[in-house]
Symmetry: C2
Subunit: 791 residues, 2 copies
């Protein structure tokens, strides 16, 4: 059941064999190239048709007023929206006197391939113009992992069976027209012509540099391009420019079989502070540096970079070629979102679309960073350093809210709170414990004490201070955190959300421990013994609500006493519920948008007994509708832990195929970075049973029927580990680095250079019957042959 | 401590002895004349200076989009804002060649008097123009209680010591310029030029009629004026008009002592359906009818109407002249807001200002109608009939929210929900029980069975259906109503709000009883025996949360377990809290904006023991900051009931003087109709101990030290009752109508033509110590001499 009509299943590529304009926008997200600094949606070279044109620079945004029908104290007044900056991807083509446009003429063949090892998007087209002149076009695009500010396109046009006059127009276009359907609050709000021209200097040698700035946020962006042109004698090159367009035109005559070859290098620079001239020069320098390496150099470096990555990150899945492809596709996009962050955020959609206005959420710390921690850890330090740089804004926000410490924003680009609906925004204080969680995991895995001292400790301390301000000891001495919103957005502004409290508990303890490890730095942060004692007291007394009658934990105080959602009366077309029911009704009933208590059981598994996990999972499964993409992978992890392997397998499929099959019908807005991470999480933490902490990696491999072999590699404390699990047994091998302390299904293993193999225990069938709300069961997939196109 | 510098204390008038432009906007609200259909703010005749120009027609509004930073299902997309319609009050004056403007020249004397028995606003001014020409001006304004569509002004100009050339310009002005300071969410959002001209036909006989319509709501308004002019020979009259201005100019020469006398009649008509021509004629007819009675006739009828009213409604307070004045001022404004409603709403500000956009809230049913029920009952039938006409809209809203029955709007002009923040709007479902409460009280007091059948029953049935859809029986069988907001707006979206549940309980029972009384009508509403049984079951099992540890009721489930608000750290300048703290922090702590559980103890006193009332009152007093004007009177009632008479007396003062002393600094936006009603409630229900229901009036008079005698009159079941209480005893006298069943401090009395006097029992000092949040104690007033102006 491949829903995209033309993606084929291959282990190392996403290949589209023919073009379907109806899903063009979705493919643009899937085919995005990015290095974490620049993001280029997979728009066609010629610019049109497009679903949503997209060229993004991490951190580059425009401000916009946030309106309220009824204002309230502390509501953010200014939002931030990612800007579609100057488009450098555009290469238009005139064949004879007709533009190459797929909506006209005859398309004989069209293929696009995202190569996960080469890091390129290649497109080949065989097209005849309306007057019948055939042409072959091949373009290969890359966003360099090794030149942070550079992208490049190799563009080739070949005359087929007759002489052809062709003109290639390579452009930089600012303020592209945006289309917007509207209506879905999860999509972004598009900006119209957000860029004000400051400079446009085309040169006759095929080089152009444009500088623009935004009206409100006052950010400046420079874009530049240069070209290497290889065409027949007599090829003409000329350059033109207006405020918003730079155009280098290459016109030539091709004989049959002859090819015009153009390499376009383009580069970006942006700054809130640097001058027009400085940015101009920055871009010119990056272009010169790219030309020095040339196309072949960039291309070779790209592959080398990815070879290194896959060497330490690859996951092999035997028995399910779709998931095999999907998990690599997901890891590739994760890497793309994070490789060259350099103290910027990882947005929920990476740089693949304008969904959620380009904002970063807790997705980063809870879903994306945990994968990168074990596969590409330098990116984690980068992402958390960005959070560190925003502490002054988060402290100011906390003060505005009458709190202490730092209150990190629920959604933001630059660091200010941009959430316009506080019950599902500002009240979701768990973001602070989520950041702490990412810090704790990264420090455990990297043992990077310099990071902990400079970045981790301030983050842990300021978030611990927030929990001290947010909670209170009640008359019975329990530590309560009232009036906050947990991960489940169908339940808001509640007391003692179990996830929040358990994550805050770990946050408080970790802050005290880190302060003890770095006493001087802690002193500089004004941490006192009295304060750390308060943190430990609060953690010790933390309230976690439990329903004795039902024998299950309550997602929050009183949750299990609410009316059950009337699932029987809810039609299939009424999901996602948030688009068809008011918040007031969702909030007051037992219905769960996404894993909340179940996520707590994953991240704070130590706080639950095995029996509690089973009972809780069964209870919340019956209430969870998965109207969020941040759910299936967590349900997979706990389903696997409590023994429901086939159910876990179905959740794995849903997480992994979210974007390749457009399961939520909004891949058009960008890929779901957290769900892509979720494929890895479901495989490694789910079927691999991987948990980590306190210097130890724990595994409990257990495979579902359809997966015959699962192999993955992890980086931990300077070592590279290979784990290979079959149904029967698991082998652990240290590829390099110092020995590791592991457990295999609870058995402790000291792993040095010897490969160790252990049998996987037979697990009894689980006791609890599991069911989901009617119609919300995860789909059971049919396995197509490995390379077949779907119906 | 009279804070307005120039209002004097008189029993039957509000007199301003000199003008202070700094409080001009406040006096405009206080001096508003209205009959419930037309409202004229007390703007100066000459139009400028003004605080806020205001001419309102009940129900006449313009639509405006309600914006949201993040949209949600079911959010109202269109708001409604009261329109400042064509201003007919304007009479400008040219003295010599200089305009009469109080900001220039010399004002020798200026006095305005709102006469509570005459129903007029009289103004006298003695002014010299900048060139020194003195003039005496006297105007008397009325909005007729007997001609619903008519207002009139008697305007006189007298030359003092020298001959004068004067020109009087009597105008109709549409689209007046509005000023707006902004920032306070409780103020209204002003509209700029909301009226589109359709017709303006001035005539040379001093008559003009203008027709306009709104752009969005599509309502049409006609305004007309005509004049009777009495001046010296040679007086010139001419008329002019543009789209938005009609002007009748009267120019004359006055000798010293000579007076130009002008009577201006003006009239309004509006409709969503009637044509331009029909509205034109409607206004012309009203003007003709007014001229038929003439100024003297209108003036005499006005006094007769008020004599009738005071005959059945007056309250005498001996020992406190300020409260004496204030309670009559309040009753006068209540009458003004409701006398000629004719199936329109009573807005929170009446027709005295644009505060809250001119919307009606629960204020009407819980504070205003209970007073009118016993003083001017026909208005209550009118106001509830308006609710009845909006049932189709309320049913549609309920369906939109996934509910059954009717969900009446939290705030509206026309009937659609206009609340832009659902936790303090749509979630405040108690509005539905509040409407039912008003129905129950009115039917009990009027025994108007035709009203009950036609209006009361549908309202009770549709609201009972809502409670059945909103609540559920939990595992223990209790009936819970989760996720709603009670009266206290510093606590929102909670489970089992005690007030809501107790009011819903009464609503459900009353619906079942009324259906039994009117079986045919009930059948037409599809009420079945099965349905009424469900209503009774829900009522019977209604959950009312109680904290066993503290021995007090919980305002809502879990309320008493929340952290206490840190009052010690809250500065005097940080009230009202909603302007200085985020909702999230207010909601999750024990801090109460306004009487909530205490209001339940007033309206559902039968559900609490005397001991519970004492303990609950003490507990919630310590948490209640009174950031709402809908609180002091209720606190007065319960303080009196539990024996804290001096505290009750202070709350009485706060409720009664809300607008005369501008206690909340927003009388500029209009008077607080509910607080004005609160003066009566605090006196009659508080010190009189009056409760009513099931055909019986109960009294328990008990006066505070400063009130030596309290006398009031009530209408009940066709009888007019006089109650006169002193510290020692209470006399009950039937002024007309059938005998009444009363209780006096629990003793049953059958009252017929004989006056009955009973001693008031000595009550023991209350046990509970009471304290309020620091700095939020109700003020202790100093008693100024009866007629002195304050410092």
């Amino acid at each position: 059941m491949i829903r995209h009509p033309a993606f084929t299943v291959e282990p190392w590529a996403v290949r589209e064999r023919h073009l379907d304009l109806r899903v063009l926008a979705q493919t643009e997200s899937v085919f995005t190239l990015s290095n974490g600094h620049i993001g280029l949606r997979g728009n066609l070279d010629e610019g049109e048709p497009n679903g949503e044109p997209g060229t993004y620079l991490n951190g580059f945004y425009e401000g916009r007023p946030l309106p309220y029908a009824e204002a309230g104290y502390g509501y953010p007044e200014s939002g931030q929206t990612v800007v579609n900056v100057t488009n450098g991807k555009v290469i238009r083509l005139l064949v004879g006197d007709e533009p190459f446009d797929l909506r006209y003429g005859t398309l004989h063949r069209h293929e696009r391939v995202l190569d996960l090892r080469a890091g390129t998007l290649t497109r080949t087209a065989h097209w005849s113009s309306p007057t019948g002149a055939p042409v072959r076009i091949r373009s290969t695009r890359l966003v360099s992992f090794t030149h942070r500010a550079v992208a490049a396109i190799l563009y080739e046009v070949e005359a087929v069976d007759r002489p052809l006059r062709v003109a290639v127009q390579s452009e930089l276009i600012a303020n592209e027209t945006q289309t917007y359907a509207g209506g879905d609050p999860r999509a972004g709000a598009p900006l119209q012509a957000p860029l004000v021209a400051e400079e446009n200097v085309p040169s006759s040698e095929g080089t152009a540099i444009m500088v623009h700035r935004t009206r409100t946020s006052g950010l400046r962006v420079a874009a530049g391009m240069c070209h290497e042109i290889d065409g027949p004698d007599g090829t003409l090159v000329e350059a033109q420019g207006t405020d918003d367009v730079s155009r280098v035109t290459v016109a030539t005559r091709l004989t049959p079989g002859q090819t015009l070859r153009l390499v376009k290098f383009f580069s970006y620079g942006w700054s809130a502070q640097r001058s027009r001239a400085a940015l101009h020069d920055q871009v010119a320098g990056a272009l010169a540096s790219a030309r020095l390496d040339g196309w072949d150099g960039l291309y070779a470096d790209q592959r080398r970079f990815l070879d290194d990555f896959w060497q330490g990150a690859d996951v092999e899945v035997e028995g399910d070629p779709e998931v095999q492809q999907a998990v690599r596709f997901g890891l590739f996009h994760l890497l793309q979102s994070a490789a060259r962050l350099e103290e910027r955020a990882i947005p929920a959609k990476g740089l693949t679309g304008s969904g959620y206005d380009g904002h970063a959420f807790w997705d980063t710390e809870i879903f994306v960073l945990p994968v990168l921690t074990y596969t590409h850890p330098t990116a984690v330090a980068d992402a958390l350093s960005w959070r560190r740089t925003t502490i002054p804004l988060a402290r100011a926000r906390a003060r505005q809210l009458g709190l202490h410490g730092a209150a990190f924003p629920w959604r933001t680009i630059h660091g200010e709170e941009c959430s316009g609906y506080w019950p599902a925004g500002a009240a979701a204080f768990h973001i602070n414990a989520d950041i702490a969680h990412a810090v704790i995991q990264y420090v455990d895995a990297s043992q990077d004490m310099s990071f902990e001292r400079q970045t981790g400790l301030p983050l842990l301390v300021e978030t611990a201070r927030l929990w001290c301000a947010l909670g209170h000891h009640d008359a019975a001495g329990r530590y309560r955190i009232d009036g906050v919103t947990g991960p489940d957005e169908y339940t808001a502004v509640v007391d003692d959300n179990a996830y929040t409290n358990l994550m805050a508990q770990r946050n408080l303890r970790a802050a005290a421990e880190a302060a003890a490890r770095h006493p001087e730095q802690a002193k500089r942060l004004q941490v006192t013994a009295e304060e750390t004692r308060r943190w430990c007291d609060a953690a010790e007394a933390m309230s976690v609500p439990y329903d004795e009658r039902l024998g299950v934990h309550q997602q929050c105080e009183g949750f299990t006493e609410h009316a059950l959602w009337d699932f029987a009366a809810t039609g299939a077309g009424q999901y996602p519920l948030l688009l068809h029911f008011p918040y007031f009704d969702l909030y007051r009933k037992q219905v769960v948008k996404q894993a909340d208590l179940v996520l707590a059981m994953h991240l704070r598994g130590d706080a639950f007994t095995a029996d509690q996990k089973s009972r809780n999972f069964a209870y919340y499964e019956a209430l969870t509708v998965r109207d969020s993409s941040l759910s299936a992978c967590t349900q997979a992890v706990i389903a696997a832990e409590v023994g429901h392997l086939e159910l876990a397998y179905r959740y794995l499929g849903e997480a992994a195929l979210m974007d390749l099959e457009d399961l939520e019908k909004n891949t058009v807005d960008g890929v779901h970075m957290a769900s892509l991470a979720g494929a890895w999480i479901a495989l490694v933490a789910g079927f691999g049973g991987m948990r980590a902490g306190h210097g130890r990696l724990c595994f409990a491999p257990s495979l579902p029927a359809d997966i015959t072999r699962l192999a993955f590699r992890l980086r931990y404390r300077g070592s590279l580990l290979s784990v290979v699990a079959t149904r029967e047994a698991t082998s652990y091998r240290l590829l390099h680095g110092p020995p590791l302390a592991l457990t295999h299904h609870g058995e402790q293993i000291h792993l040095d250079r010897t490969e160790i193999t252990r049998l996987n225990p037979q697990r009894p069938a689980p006791e609890q019957e599991i069911h989901q709300p009617p119609g919300r069961e995860p789909a059971r997939r049919h396995q197509p042959p490995a390379t077949a196109a779907a119906e």
